[in-house]
Symmetry: C2
DNA sequence: CCTTTCGCAACAGTTAAAGTTTCGCGCCTT
DNA sequence: AAGGCGCGAAACTTTAACTGTTGCGAAAGG
């Protein structure tokens, strides 16, 4: 159970916006992911800087998708939150004079860099729209077996339910 | 949160013990990795439980390797420190009722699990002895180009220089 | 008996994300 | 033009895990 939840939360938000609420205020978004509007603005700022969403102030303001989710990959989202360190483990931060430590850290670094490169490649290959497809399949099954049309937090797939 | 340095530090220690100091007290080991003996004992406890090292109390006590480094892999070390969470990013810890969140977390989980499995497989394929080989090659170069025989922290490759 | 050395418990320090509070500043409505 | 809405940003506190530190107990040996 890792710590940095921003990717998960942002994907959650982007999909809700695409499917259910074209425009959403930070307050409404905060409701979707059970947090508060300041945290939302902090997360969304990176997306705005990368042209994934836009923000508007004042009455009728809030957040909108700036491009379709077919043109946003998980890697875009990862970078939009500042490309945080992926691994919780790793070699010592600063190089040492000790040749033993150098050899150890070189090995660890090599393994971790390869794993990181692979993971980022995989992130780049997954469009947010692919996750939407996953959701739609799950949702169809859910409706069929349980007759329940609500998704979560009062939102339905056909419109904003506040 | 700072990165988890235990694997790096333990590998450093194991190699020094194998090459330079057959027996070492927690105090001496703490000197090798610039920390204090309590941290050392905490790290080494897992290795002892897994039969990688042994500890003895009292005069002449301390730590010893219990088996050759050809029989210890990076994965053994990883598990000896409690198999900490590898990734710093990931989905929300607890499953949600929201189908969107479920779809998001399933995708992230899938990508991360695959990356984790690959990394652990790679750790399992690297014996600590392989890192010793890396070190010996580097050390030979070092002696050739700089004529310096010290490794670090006052230890030489031929014996304990406490 | 006394020193050495590990074993263990308890607590403070560090770091980055998450959560909160409180401003200011545009923008739309009236 | 006034007022409320909503983002922007700064300044905290909280959280979680490893790390660092102190103190006491127990075992081993001279």
């Amino acid at each position: 159970m890792p710590r940095d939840l921003r990717m998960s939360r942002i994907l959650h938000v982007l999909i809700h916006m695409d499917r259910h609420v074209a425009r959403a205020t930070s307050d409404q978004i905060a409701g979707m992911i059970s947090t508060n509007p300041v945290v939302v603005r902090r997360m969304m700022a990176g997306l705005r800087d990368r042209g994934i969403v836009t923000s508007e102030k004042g009455h009728g303001g809030g957040w909108r998708l700036a491009r379709p989710l077919t043109e946003v990959t998980l890697r875009d989202v990862y970078e939009a939150v500042g490309a945080p360190v992926l691994f919780n483990v790793g070699p010592t931060a600063e190089p040492s004079d000790c040749l033993v430590e150098k050899a150890v850290d070189a090995r660890l670094d090599s393994a971790l860099r390869e794993a990181e490169a692979r993971l980022l490649t995989q992130f780049a290959a997954i469009r947010v729209e692919d996750v939407v497809q996953d959701f739609e399949r799950d949702f169809a099954d859910h409706v069929k077996t349980q007759g329940e049309r609500r998704v979560c937090g009062g939102h339905t797939p056909d419109g904003d339910a506040g």
